[in-house]
Amino acid sequence: MTGKKKEELRLDHKVIGDLVEAGSMVLDLGCGDGDLLQYLVENKEVRGSGVEINEEAIYMCVEKGLSVSHGDIDSGLKEYPDKLFDYVIFNQTMQQVYKPKEAIAEALRVGRKVIIGFPNFCHIKARLQIFFTGHVPITPSLPYTWYDTPNLHFLSIKDFKEFCAEQAINIEKKVFLSEERIVRFFPNIFALNAIYQISK
Protein backbone atom coordinates (compact mmCIF):
# COMPACT_ATOMS: atom_id res chain seq x y z
CA MET A 1 0.00 0.00 0.00
CA THR A 2 1.35 3.44 -0.89
CA GLY A 3 1.85 6.22 1.62
CA LYS A 4 -0.82 8.27 -0.09
CA LYS A 5 -3.34 5.48 0.27
CA LYS A 6 -2.59 5.18 3.97
CA GLU A 7 -3.18 8.88 4.55
CA GLU A 8 -6.45 8.66 2.75
CA LEU A 9 -7.56 5.72 4.84
CA ARG A 10 -6.94 7.79 7.90
CA LEU A 11 -9.35 10.35 6.52
CA ASP A 12 -11.79 7.45 6.03
CA HIS A 13 -11.38 6.53 9.64
CA LYS A 14 -11.93 10.06 10.79
CA VAL A 15 -15.10 10.41 8.72
CA ILE A 16 -16.45 7.09 9.99
CA GLY A 17 -15.50 8.07 13.52
CA ASP A 18 -17.58 11.24 13.11
CA LEU A 19 -20.57 9.20 11.94
CA VAL A 20 -20.47 6.68 14.78
CA GLU A 21 -22.14 7.65 18.03
CA ALA A 22 -19.95 7.35 21.11
CA GLY A 23 -20.45 4.25 23.25
CA SER A 24 -22.30 2.32 20.58
CA MET A 25 -21.90 -1.32 19.60
CA VAL A 26 -20.01 -1.78 16.33
CA LEU A 27 -19.28 -4.71 14.02
CA ASP A 28 -16.53 -4.12 11.47
CA LEU A 29 -16.81 -6.52 8.52
CA GLY A 30 -13.41 -7.14 7.00
CA CYS A 31 -11.66 -5.25 9.77
CA GLY A 32 -8.16 -6.01 8.48
CA ASP A 33 -5.45 -5.33 11.03
CA GLY A 34 -7.98 -3.51 13.20
CA ASP A 35 -6.82 0.10 12.78
CA LEU A 36 -10.32 1.49 12.31
CA LEU A 37 -11.79 -0.57 15.16
CA GLN A 38 -8.98 0.48 17.45
CA TYR A 39 -9.56 4.12 16.47
CA LEU A 40 -13.26 3.76 17.28
CA VAL A 41 -12.62 1.94 20.55
CA GLU A 42 -10.11 4.53 21.69
CA ASN A 43 -11.81 7.68 20.42
CA LYS A 44 -15.51 6.84 20.49
CA GLU A 45 -15.48 4.26 23.26
CA VAL A 46 -17.44 1.81 21.15
CA ARG A 47 -17.83 -1.84 22.04
CA GLY A 48 -16.37 -3.22 18.87
CA SER A 49 -15.81 -6.54 17.22
CA GLY A 50 -14.60 -7.52 13.80
CA VAL A 51 -14.73 -10.22 11.18
CA GLU A 52 -11.60 -10.85 9.14
CA ILE A 53 -10.49 -13.59 6.74
CA ASN A 54 -6.73 -13.08 6.92
CA GLU A 55 -4.99 -15.04 9.69
CA GLU A 56 -2.08 -12.62 10.09
CA ALA A 57 -4.54 -9.73 10.41
CA ILE A 58 -6.30 -11.65 13.19
CA TYR A 59 -3.06 -11.78 15.17
CA MET A 60 -2.65 -8.02 14.74
CA CYS A 61 -6.20 -7.37 15.93
CA VAL A 62 -5.72 -9.57 19.00
CA GLU A 63 -2.46 -7.75 19.73
CA LYS A 64 -4.47 -4.52 19.76
CA GLY A 65 -6.83 -6.08 22.29
CA LEU A 66 -9.71 -6.31 19.82
CA SER A 67 -12.30 -9.07 19.64
CA VAL A 68 -12.28 -10.50 16.17
CA SER A 69 -13.61 -13.54 14.40
CA HIS A 70 -11.75 -15.43 11.71
CA GLY A 71 -14.11 -16.01 8.82
CA ASP A 72 -15.53 -14.68 5.61
CA ILE A 73 -18.40 -12.26 5.31
CA ASP A 74 -20.03 -14.19 2.50
CA SER A 75 -20.80 -17.14 4.75
CA GLY A 76 -23.25 -14.82 6.41
CA LEU A 77 -23.96 -13.20 9.74
CA LYS A 78 -26.50 -15.81 10.75
CA GLU A 79 -25.10 -16.11 14.26
CA TYR A 80 -26.01 -12.54 15.09
CA PRO A 81 -29.51 -11.72 16.31
CA ASP A 82 -31.46 -8.95 14.56
CA LYS A 83 -30.32 -5.40 15.33
CA LEU A 84 -27.63 -6.55 17.76
CA PHE A 85 -25.31 -3.76 16.61
CA ASP A 86 -25.79 -0.03 16.42
CA TYR A 87 -23.46 0.09 13.43
CA VAL A 88 -22.19 -2.49 10.98
CA ILE A 89 -19.24 -1.20 8.98
CA PHE A 90 -18.02 -2.28 5.56
CA ASN A 91 -15.01 -0.09 4.98
CA GLN A 92 -13.48 -0.86 1.59
CA THR A 93 -14.67 -4.44 1.84
CA MET A 94 -18.16 -4.49 0.34
CA GLN A 95 -16.69 -4.54 -3.19
CA GLN A 96 -14.62 -7.60 -2.21
CA VAL A 97 -17.40 -9.98 -1.18
CA TYR A 98 -18.95 -12.40 -3.66
CA LYS A 99 -22.52 -11.28 -3.12
CA PRO A 100 -22.71 -7.64 -2.01
CA LYS A 101 -26.50 -7.48 -2.21
CA GLU A 102 -26.91 -10.35 0.25
CA ALA A 103 -24.08 -9.09 2.46
CA ILE A 104 -25.65 -5.62 2.70
CA ALA A 105 -29.06 -7.14 3.45
CA GLU A 106 -27.53 -9.21 6.27
CA ALA A 107 -25.67 -6.19 7.62
CA LEU A 108 -28.94 -4.22 7.66
CA ARG A 109 -30.59 -7.08 9.53
CA VAL A 110 -28.00 -7.28 12.33
CA GLY A 111 -27.26 -3.55 12.51
CA ARG A 112 -29.52 -0.57 13.05
CA LYS A 113 -27.29 1.40 10.73
CA VAL A 114 -24.76 0.29 8.14
CA ILE A 115 -21.74 2.35 7.11
CA ILE A 116 -20.29 1.48 3.73
CA GLY A 117 -17.07 2.93 2.34
CA PHE A 118 -16.21 2.06 -1.26
CA PRO A 119 -13.95 3.29 -4.08
CA ASN A 120 -15.66 5.24 -6.86
CA PHE A 121 -14.98 3.62 -10.20
CA CYS A 122 -16.14 6.71 -12.13
CA HIS A 123 -13.63 9.18 -10.73
CA ILE A 124 -12.31 11.57 -13.37
CA LYS A 125 -8.90 9.82 -13.42
CA ALA A 126 -10.56 6.49 -14.14
CA ARG A 127 -12.76 7.98 -16.85
CA LEU A 128 -9.78 9.60 -18.55
CA GLN A 129 -7.68 6.44 -18.37
CA ILE A 130 -10.39 4.37 -19.97
CA PHE A 131 -11.14 6.96 -22.60
CA PHE A 132 -7.59 7.95 -23.58
CA THR A 133 -5.42 4.95 -22.79
CA GLY A 134 -7.90 2.11 -23.25
CA HIS A 135 -6.73 0.52 -19.98
CA VAL A 136 -8.65 -0.61 -16.95
CA PRO A 137 -8.04 2.32 -14.61
CA ILE A 138 -5.60 2.41 -11.71
CA THR A 139 -6.35 5.24 -9.27
CA PRO A 140 -5.39 6.04 -5.67
CA SER A 141 -8.58 4.37 -4.44
CA LEU A 142 -8.35 1.53 -6.97
CA PRO A 143 -4.60 0.89 -6.95
CA TYR A 144 -4.62 -2.67 -8.27
CA THR A 145 -3.91 -4.29 -11.61
CA TRP A 146 -6.77 -6.31 -13.09
CA TYR A 147 -4.91 -9.58 -12.46
CA ASP A 148 -4.03 -8.98 -8.83
CA THR A 149 -6.87 -7.27 -7.04
CA PRO A 150 -9.06 -8.10 -4.04
CA ASN A 151 -11.92 -6.21 -5.68
CA LEU A 152 -14.61 -8.30 -7.31
CA HIS A 153 -17.15 -5.57 -7.99
CA PHE A 154 -16.74 -2.10 -9.44
CA LEU A 155 -19.30 0.57 -8.88
CA SER A 156 -19.78 4.30 -9.00
CA ILE A 157 -21.45 6.59 -6.51
CA LYS A 158 -24.38 6.85 -8.90
CA ASP A 159 -24.64 3.05 -9.05
CA PHE A 160 -24.79 2.82 -5.28
CA LYS A 161 -27.42 5.52 -5.03
CA GLU A 162 -29.60 3.68 -7.54
CA PHE A 163 -29.02 0.38 -5.75
CA CYS A 164 -30.29 1.90 -2.49
CA ALA A 165 -33.38 3.24 -4.24
CA GLU A 166 -34.10 -0.16 -5.81
CA GLN A 167 -33.65 -1.99 -2.51
CA ALA A 168 -35.71 0.57 -0.57
CA ILE A 169 -32.69 1.40 1.58
CA ASN A 170 -32.63 4.80 3.30
CA ILE A 171 -29.56 6.89 2.77
CA GLU A 172 -29.08 8.74 6.06
CA LYS A 173 -25.74 10.36 5.48
CA LYS A 174 -23.10 10.45 2.79
CA VAL A 175 -19.57 11.80 2.66
CA PHE A 176 -17.36 11.92 -0.44
CA LEU A 177 -13.60 11.98 -0.29
CA SER A 178 -10.72 12.86 -2.53
CA GLU A 179 -7.24 11.90 -1.43
CA GLU A 180 -7.03 14.49 1.31
CA ARG A 181 -10.32 16.30 1.64
CA ILE A 182 -14.09 16.11 1.50
CA VAL A 183 -15.60 16.51 -1.97
CA ARG A 184 -18.81 18.53 -2.16
CA PHE A 185 -19.45 19.01 -5.88
CA PHE A 186 -19.95 16.40 -8.58
CA PRO A 187 -18.80 13.55 -6.36
CA ASN A 188 -19.32 10.92 -9.05
CA ILE A 189 -16.57 12.66 -10.99
CA PHE A 190 -14.30 14.08 -8.30
CA ALA A 191 -14.58 11.68 -5.32
CA LEU A 192 -12.20 8.75 -5.03
CA ASN A 193 -14.14 7.22 -2.18
CA ALA A 194 -17.67 7.42 -0.85
CA ILE A 195 -18.91 6.68 2.63
CA TYR A 196 -22.63 6.08 3.10
CA GLN A 197 -24.63 5.58 6.24
CA ILE A 198 -27.73 3.60 5.40
CA SER A 199 -30.62 1.96 7.22
CA LYS A 200 -33.77 0.04 6.45
Binding site: Y59, C61, V62, K64, S67, S69, G71, E79, Y80
Partner: protein, 378 residues
Protein backbone atom coordinates in the same frame (compact mmCIF):
# COMPACT_ATOMS: atom_id res chain seq x y z
CA UNK B 1 17.92 -19.37 24.22
CA UNK B 2 19.46 -20.38 27.50
CA UNK B 3 17.06 -20.26 30.36
CA UNK B 4 17.08 -21.29 33.94
CA UNK B 5 15.32 -24.57 34.66
CA UNK B 6 12.29 -24.00 36.87
CA UNK B 7 11.86 -26.89 39.29
CA UNK B 8 8.37 -27.78 40.40
CA UNK B 9 6.66 -30.38 42.56
CA UNK B 10 3.28 -32.02 42.37
CA UNK B 11 1.05 -31.20 45.34
CA UNK B 12 -2.09 -32.93 46.55
CA UNK B 13 -5.50 -31.79 47.70
CA UNK B 14 -7.33 -34.27 49.88
CA UNK B 15 -11.05 -33.77 50.46
CA UNK B 16 -11.68 -33.30 54.21
CA UNK B 17 -13.09 -36.33 55.99
CA UNK B 18 -16.87 -36.38 56.18
CA UNK B 19 -17.34 -34.50 52.90
CA UNK B 20 -18.73 -36.34 49.92
CA UNK B 21 -18.17 -35.75 46.24
CA UNK B 22 -21.37 -36.33 44.30
CA UNK B 23 -21.05 -37.17 40.64
CA UNK B 24 -23.36 -36.35 37.76
CA UNK B 25 -24.53 -39.98 37.69
CA UNK B 26 -25.62 -39.70 41.33
CA UNK B 27 -22.74 -41.88 42.56
CA UNK B 28 -20.72 -40.63 45.54
CA UNK B 29 -17.04 -40.67 46.38
CA UNK B 30 -16.16 -40.56 50.07
CA UNK B 31 -12.50 -39.96 49.31
CA UNK B 32 -11.14 -37.56 46.75
CA UNK B 33 -7.53 -36.73 46.07
CA UNK B 34 -6.41 -34.25 43.42
CA UNK B 35 -2.84 -33.96 42.16
CA UNK B 36 -1.96 -30.42 41.10
CA UNK B 37 0.89 -28.08 40.35
CA UNK B 38 1.12 -24.31 40.45
CA UNK B 39 3.48 -21.91 38.73
CA UNK B 40 3.97 -18.23 39.53
CA UNK B 41 2.49 -16.34 42.45
CA UNK B 42 -1.10 -15.57 43.36
CA UNK B 43 -1.43 -11.78 43.71
CA UNK B 44 -2.90 -10.16 46.80
CA UNK B 45 -6.33 -9.57 45.24
CA UNK B 46 -6.30 -13.10 43.77
CA UNK B 47 -7.15 -11.79 40.33
CA UNK B 48 -4.37 -13.49 38.37
CA UNK B 49 -5.21 -17.20 38.66
CA UNK B 50 -5.33 -19.22 35.45
CA UNK B 51 -6.46 -22.84 35.32
CA UNK B 52 -5.00 -25.10 32.64
CA UNK B 53 -7.01 -28.24 31.85
CA UNK B 54 -5.19 -31.18 30.30
CA UNK B 55 -6.27 -33.55 27.56
CA UNK B 56 -6.78 -37.32 27.52
CA UNK B 57 -3.24 -38.42 28.34
CA UNK B 58 -2.00 -35.34 30.17
CA UNK B 59 -1.33 -34.77 33.85
CA UNK B 60 -0.85 -32.06 36.44
CA UNK B 61 2.76 -31.53 35.38
CA UNK B 62 2.18 -28.86 32.74
CA UNK B 63 5.38 -26.85 33.08
CA UNK B 64 8.80 -26.71 34.64
CA UNK B 65 10.97 -29.67 35.59
CA UNK B 66 10.63 -32.33 38.24
CA UNK B 67 13.99 -32.82 39.85
CA UNK B 68 15.98 -35.43 37.95
CA UNK B 69 13.82 -35.14 34.81
CA UNK B 70 15.30 -34.25 31.43
CA UNK B 71 11.96 -33.25 29.91
CA UNK B 72 9.75 -30.44 31.20
CA UNK B 73 5.94 -30.55 31.68
CA UNK B 74 3.64 -31.15 28.71
CA UNK B 75 2.92 -27.46 27.94
CA UNK B 76 6.17 -25.92 29.08
CA UNK B 77 6.40 -24.03 25.78
CA UNK B 78 3.35 -22.04 26.82
CA UNK B 79 3.74 -21.67 30.59
CA UNK B 80 6.66 -19.93 32.29
CA UNK B 81 8.33 -16.57 32.80
CA UNK B 82 7.78 -14.39 29.72
CA UNK B 83 5.76 -17.08 27.94
CA UNK B 84 2.10 -16.85 26.83
CA UNK B 85 0.94 -17.84 30.30
CA UNK B 86 3.51 -15.56 31.86
CA UNK B 87 4.26 -16.83 35.35
CA UNK B 88 5.78 -13.45 36.22
CA UNK B 89 2.23 -12.10 35.91
CA UNK B 90 -0.13 -15.00 36.41
CA UNK B 91 -0.63 -17.77 38.92
CA UNK B 92 -1.08 -20.89 36.81
CA UNK B 93 -2.72 -24.05 38.15
CA UNK B 94 -2.95 -27.44 36.50
CA UNK B 95 -4.50 -30.52 38.07
CA UNK B 96 -4.85 -34.14 37.03
CA UNK B 97 -8.44 -34.92 36.05
CA UNK B 98 -10.88 -37.01 38.04
CA UNK B 99 -10.70 -40.56 36.68
CA UNK B 100 -7.06 -40.06 35.70
CA UNK B 101 -4.09 -42.10 36.79
CA UNK B 102 -1.54 -39.44 37.65
CA UNK B 103 -2.29 -38.82 41.30
CA UNK B 104 -5.97 -37.83 41.23
CA UNK B 105 -8.65 -40.31 42.28
CA UNK B 106 -9.43 -42.77 39.52
CA UNK B 107 -9.89 -46.48 38.86
CA UNK B 108 -6.31 -47.21 39.92
CA UNK B 109 -6.89 -45.61 43.37
CA UNK B 110 -7.60 -47.70 46.43
CA UNK B 111 -11.28 -48.06 47.24
CA UNK B 112 -11.58 -47.22 50.97
CA UNK B 113 -14.51 -49.66 51.29
CA UNK B 114 -12.50 -52.69 50.13
CA UNK B 115 -8.86 -51.73 50.56
CA UNK B 116 -8.29 -52.81 46.95
CA UNK B 117 -7.98 -50.92 43.67
CA UNK B 118 -11.31 -49.63 42.44
CA UNK B 119 -10.99 -51.01 38.94
CA UNK B 120 -14.44 -50.91 37.34
CA UNK B 121 -16.12 -50.23 40.68
CA UNK B 122 -14.96 -46.61 40.30
CA UNK B 123 -18.01 -44.60 39.25
CA UNK B 124 -18.30 -43.36 35.67
CA UNK B 125 -17.17 -39.74 35.53
CA UNK B 126 -18.20 -36.91 33.21
CA UNK B 127 -16.44 -33.77 32.04
CA UNK B 128 -18.69 -31.87 34.46
CA UNK B 129 -17.48 -34.10 37.32
CA UNK B 130 -13.87 -33.32 36.37
CA UNK B 131 -14.71 -29.61 36.51
CA UNK B 132 -16.54 -29.94 39.83
CA UNK B 133 -13.48 -31.68 41.29
CA UNK B 134 -11.29 -28.83 40.01
CA UNK B 135 -13.71 -26.37 41.64
CA UNK B 136 -13.03 -28.08 44.99
CA UNK B 137 -9.32 -27.52 44.46
CA UNK B 138 -9.83 -23.87 43.47
CA UNK B 139 -12.02 -23.31 46.56
CA UNK B 140 -9.33 -24.98 48.66
CA UNK B 141 -6.79 -22.53 47.21
CA UNK B 142 -9.24 -19.77 48.30
CA UNK B 143 -9.59 -18.41 44.79
CA UNK B 144 -13.01 -16.99 43.88
CA UNK B 145 -12.51 -16.05 40.26
CA UNK B 146 -10.31 -17.54 37.59
CA UNK B 147 -8.84 -14.99 35.20
CA UNK B 148 -8.92 -17.73 32.61
CA UNK B 149 -9.63 -21.41 32.12
CA UNK B 150 -7.79 -22.85 29.15
CA UNK B 151 -7.29 -26.25 27.62
CA UNK B 152 -6.80 -28.13 24.38
CA UNK B 153 -8.90 -31.04 23.14
CA UNK B 154 -10.62 -32.57 26.19
CA UNK B 155 -9.06 -29.70 28.17
CA UNK B 156 -11.13 -27.36 26.00
CA UNK B 157 -14.28 -29.27 26.93
CA UNK B 158 -13.45 -28.71 30.59
CA UNK B 159 -12.82 -25.01 29.93
CA UNK B 160 -16.25 -24.69 28.25
CA UNK B 161 -17.89 -26.64 31.06
CA UNK B 162 -16.26 -24.31 33.60
CA UNK B 163 -17.77 -21.27 31.88
CA UNK B 164 -21.18 -22.94 31.89
CA UNK B 165 -21.10 -24.46 35.38
CA UNK B 166 -19.49 -21.45 37.07
CA UNK B 167 -20.20 -18.45 34.82
CA UNK B 168 -19.66 -15.90 37.59
CA UNK B 169 -16.24 -17.30 38.50
CA UNK B 170 -14.69 -17.50 35.03
CA UNK B 171 -13.44 -14.20 33.63
CA UNK B 172 -12.26 -15.73 30.37
CA UNK B 173 -12.29 -19.08 28.63
CA UNK B 174 -9.87 -20.43 26.01
CA UNK B 175 -10.98 -23.71 24.39
CA UNK B 176 -8.42 -24.94 21.84
CA UNK B 177 -8.91 -27.66 19.19
CA UNK B 178 -12.00 -28.74 21.04
CA UNK B 179 -15.71 -29.37 20.66
CA UNK B 180 -19.06 -28.79 22.31
CA UNK B 181 -19.98 -32.46 21.88
CA UNK B 182 -18.48 -35.73 20.77
CA UNK B 183 -19.68 -36.59 17.30
CA UNK B 184 -20.42 -40.13 16.07
CA UNK B 185 -16.95 -40.28 14.51
CA UNK B 186 -15.27 -39.18 17.72
CA UNK B 187 -17.24 -41.71 19.76
CA UNK B 188 -16.39 -44.38 17.20
CA UNK B 189 -12.64 -43.88 17.53
CA UNK B 190 -12.93 -43.98 21.32
CA UNK B 191 -14.93 -47.18 21.17
CA UNK B 192 -12.29 -48.89 19.01
CA UNK B 193 -9.69 -47.89 21.60
CA UNK B 194 -11.81 -49.26 24.43
CA UNK B 195 -12.49 -52.49 22.57
CA UNK B 196 -8.76 -52.97 22.02
CA UNK B 197 -8.21 -52.76 25.78
CA UNK B 198 -11.17 -54.94 26.71
CA UNK B 199 -10.21 -57.59 24.13
CA UNK B 200 -6.84 -58.02 25.85
CA UNK B 201 -7.24 -61.10 28.14
CA UNK B 202 -5.01 -59.38 30.70
CA UNK B 203 -7.67 -56.70 31.14
CA UNK B 204 -9.67 -59.25 33.12
CA UNK B 205 -12.77 -57.12 33.59
CA UNK B 206 -10.66 -54.25 34.85
CA UNK B 207 -9.15 -56.30 37.67
CA UNK B 208 -5.46 -56.54 36.83
CA UNK B 209 -3.65 -54.28 39.28
CA UNK B 210 -1.73 -57.08 41.02
CA UNK B 211 -1.17 -59.01 37.77
CA UNK B 212 0.03 -58.33 34.23
CA UNK B 213 -1.58 -55.18 32.87
CA UNK B 214 -3.42 -55.17 29.50
CA UNK B 215 -0.46 -53.51 27.82
CA UNK B 216 -1.06 -54.92 24.35
CA UNK B 217 -4.63 -53.60 24.31
CA UNK B 218 -3.72 -50.19 25.69
CA UNK B 219 -0.86 -49.89 23.19
CA UNK B 220 -3.24 -50.52 20.29
CA UNK B 221 -5.68 -47.96 21.72
CA UNK B 222 -2.87 -45.43 21.83
CA UNK B 223 -1.78 -46.27 18.28
CA UNK B 224 -5.29 -45.58 17.00
CA UNK B 225 -5.29 -42.36 18.98
CA UNK B 226 -2.02 -41.23 17.44
CA UNK B 227 -3.33 -41.75 13.92
CA UNK B 228 -6.24 -39.45 14.70
CA UNK B 229 -3.91 -36.82 16.20
CA UNK B 230 -1.90 -36.43 13.00
CA UNK B 231 -2.92 -35.30 9.54
CA UNK B 232 -2.42 -37.15 6.28
CA UNK B 233 0.06 -34.47 5.31
CA UNK B 234 2.06 -34.58 8.56
CA UNK B 235 2.27 -38.39 8.38
CA UNK B 236 3.35 -38.26 4.75
CA UNK B 237 5.96 -35.67 5.63
CA UNK B 238 7.23 -37.52 8.69
CA UNK B 239 7.19 -41.10 7.40
CA UNK B 240 6.11 -41.35 3.78
CA UNK B 241 6.81 -44.96 2.74
CA UNK B 242 10.23 -44.99 4.32
CA UNK B 243 11.37 -48.46 5.35
CA UNK B 244 13.40 -49.19 8.45
CA UNK B 245 15.62 -51.58 6.45
CA UNK B 246 16.85 -51.09 2.93
CA UNK B 247 14.34 -53.40 1.28
CA UNK B 248 11.13 -55.28 1.90
CA UNK B 249 11.55 -58.30 4.16
CA UNK B 250 8.41 -60.19 3.09
CA UNK B 251 7.43 -60.82 6.69
CA UNK B 252 5.03 -59.39 9.31
CA UNK B 253 7.52 -57.36 11.26
CA UNK B 254 7.40 -53.62 11.70
CA UNK B 255 8.91 -52.62 8.36
CA UNK B 256 7.67 -49.12 7.65
CA UNK B 257 8.85 -46.17 9.72
CA UNK B 258 5.24 -45.31 10.51
CA UNK B 259 4.70 -48.78 11.99
CA UNK B 260 7.77 -48.43 14.16
CA UNK B 261 6.63 -45.00 15.31
CA UNK B 262 3.18 -46.19 16.30
CA UNK B 263 4.57 -49.22 18.12
CA UNK B 264 7.06 -47.03 19.95
CA UNK B 265 4.26 -44.61 20.93
CA UNK B 266 2.06 -47.48 22.08
CA UNK B 267 4.82 -49.13 24.10
CA UNK B 268 5.95 -45.95 25.82
CA UNK B 269 2.34 -45.04 26.66
CA UNK B 270 1.64 -48.26 28.56
CA UNK B 271 4.55 -47.48 30.89
CA UNK B 272 2.88 -44.31 32.05
CA UNK B 273 -0.85 -44.83 31.69
CA UNK B 274 -3.55 -46.99 33.23
CA UNK B 275 -5.81 -48.92 30.85
CA UNK B 276 -8.90 -48.48 33.03
CA UNK B 277 -8.30 -44.73 33.15
CA UNK B 278 -8.26 -44.77 29.36
CA UNK B 279 -11.72 -46.37 29.41
CA UNK B 280 -13.10 -43.88 31.93
CA UNK B 281 -11.72 -40.77 30.30
CA UNK B 282 -12.80 -41.68 26.77
CA UNK B 283 -16.26 -42.46 28.16
CA UNK B 284 -16.40 -39.02 29.77
CA UNK B 285 -15.58 -37.42 26.42
CA UNK B 286 -18.20 -39.50 24.64
CA UNK B 287 -20.84 -38.41 27.15
CA UNK B 288 -19.91 -34.77 26.60
CA UNK B 289 -22.63 -32.74 24.88
CA UNK B 290 -23.30 -29.16 25.88
CA UNK B 291 -26.42 -28.83 23.75
CA UNK B 292 -29.63 -28.35 25.66
CA UNK B 293 -32.76 -29.40 23.80
CA UNK B 294 -30.38 -30.01 20.89
CA UNK B 295 -29.46 -26.33 20.90
CA UNK B 296 -25.97 -25.18 21.77
CA UNK B 297 -27.28 -21.61 22.01
CA UNK B 298 -29.15 -22.48 25.21
CA UNK B 299 -25.99 -23.81 26.90
CA UNK B 300 -24.42 -20.36 27.02
CA UNK B 301 -27.49 -18.43 28.23
CA UNK B 302 -26.22 -18.11 31.79
CA UNK B 303 -22.96 -16.45 30.78
CA UNK B 304 -22.83 -12.73 31.43
CA UNK B 305 -19.35 -11.32 31.20
CA UNK B 306 -16.97 -14.19 30.39
CA UNK B 307 -14.80 -13.43 27.34
CA UNK B 308 -13.85 -16.24 24.97
CA UNK B 309 -10.89 -17.00 22.76
CA UNK B 310 -11.63 -20.02 20.58
CA UNK B 311 -8.75 -21.55 18.61
CA UNK B 312 -8.94 -24.29 15.97
CA UNK B 313 -6.40 -25.72 13.54
CA UNK B 314 -6.95 -26.07 9.80
CA UNK B 315 -5.75 -29.69 9.45
CA UNK B 316 -7.37 -31.01 12.65
CA UNK B 317 -9.84 -33.62 11.42
CA UNK B 318 -10.44 -35.19 14.83
CA UNK B 319 -11.80 -31.94 16.29
CA UNK B 320 -12.50 -30.07 13.06
CA UNK B 321 -12.77 -26.29 13.01
CA UNK B 322 -16.46 -26.60 12.13
CA UNK B 323 -17.08 -27.65 15.75
CA UNK B 324 -15.23 -24.60 17.05
CA UNK B 325 -17.20 -22.41 14.66
CA UNK B 326 -20.44 -23.78 16.11
CA UNK B 327 -19.22 -22.73 19.55
CA UNK B 328 -18.35 -19.25 18.27
CA UNK B 329 -21.73 -18.97 16.58
CA UNK B 330 -23.64 -19.96 19.72
CA UNK B 331 -21.61 -17.51 21.81
CA UNK B 332 -22.30 -14.68 19.36
CA UNK B 333 -25.99 -15.47 19.33
CA UNK B 334 -25.88 -14.83 23.07
CA UNK B 335 -24.05 -11.55 22.52
CA UNK B 336 -20.95 -12.91 24.27
CA UNK B 337 -17.53 -11.37 23.56
CA UNK B 338 -15.60 -13.91 21.49
CA UNK B 339 -12.44 -13.99 19.41
CA UNK B 340 -11.92 -16.86 17.01
CA UNK B 341 -8.91 -17.93 15.00
CA UNK B 342 -8.37 -20.93 12.78
CA UNK B 343 -4.61 -21.33 12.77
CA UNK B 344 -3.27 -22.82 9.56
CA UNK B 345 -1.21 -25.85 10.43
CA UNK B 346 -0.33 -29.24 8.93
CA UNK B 347 0.01 -30.98 12.28
CA UNK B 348 -3.60 -32.13 12.64
CA UNK B 349 -5.04 -32.33 16.14
CA UNK B 350 -1.52 -32.46 17.63
CA UNK B 351 -1.15 -28.82 16.54
CA UNK B 352 -2.45 -27.63 19.90
CA UNK B 353 0.71 -29.05 21.50
CA UNK B 354 3.03 -27.92 18.71
CA UNK B 355 1.91 -24.59 17.25
CA UNK B 356 2.83 -22.68 20.36
CA UNK B 357 4.19 -19.64 18.49
CA UNK B 358 0.75 -18.92 17.00
CA UNK B 359 -1.11 -19.89 20.16
CA UNK B 360 1.19 -17.64 22.17
CA UNK B 361 0.50 -14.65 19.93
CA UNK B 362 -3.22 -15.04 20.52
CA UNK B 363 -3.24 -16.05 24.17
CA UNK B 364 -0.63 -13.57 25.44
CA UNK B 365 -2.54 -10.53 24.18
CA UNK B 366 -5.99 -11.91 24.93
CA UNK B 367 -4.98 -12.59 28.54
CA UNK B 368 -3.29 -9.23 28.86
CA UNK B 369 -6.44 -7.45 27.68
CA UNK B 370 -8.61 -9.59 29.97
CA UNK B 371 -6.37 -8.89 32.94
CA UNK B 372 -6.41 -5.13 32.33
CA UNK B 373 -10.16 -5.13 31.86
CA UNK B 374 -10.72 -7.13 35.06
CA UNK B 375 -8.34 -4.83 36.91
CA UNK B 376 -10.35 -1.77 35.84
CA UNK B 377 -13.54 -3.24 37.25
CA UNK B 378 -12.15 -3.93 40.73
Amino acid sequence: MSEKKEFVETKYYIMPKGEKFILESGAKLSELKIAYETYGKLNRDKTNAVLICHALSGDAHAAGYHSGDKKPGWWDDMIGPGKAFDTDKYFVICSNILGGCKGTSGPNSINPATGKHYGLSFPIVSIKDMVDAQKKLIDHLKIDNLLSVCGGSMGGMQALQWAISYPDNVVSCIPIASSYKHSAQQIAFDEVGRQAIMADPAWNGGDYYDKDHPSAGLAVARMIGHITYMSDKSMEHKFGRILKKKELGYEFTSEFEVEGYLRYRGDSFVKRFDANSYLYITKAMDYFDLQQDKKLYNAFKGIKSTRFLVIAFSSDWLYPSAQSKEIVKALKMNGIDVTYCEVSSDYGHDAFLLEFAEESKLIRHFLDKTFKKADKKT
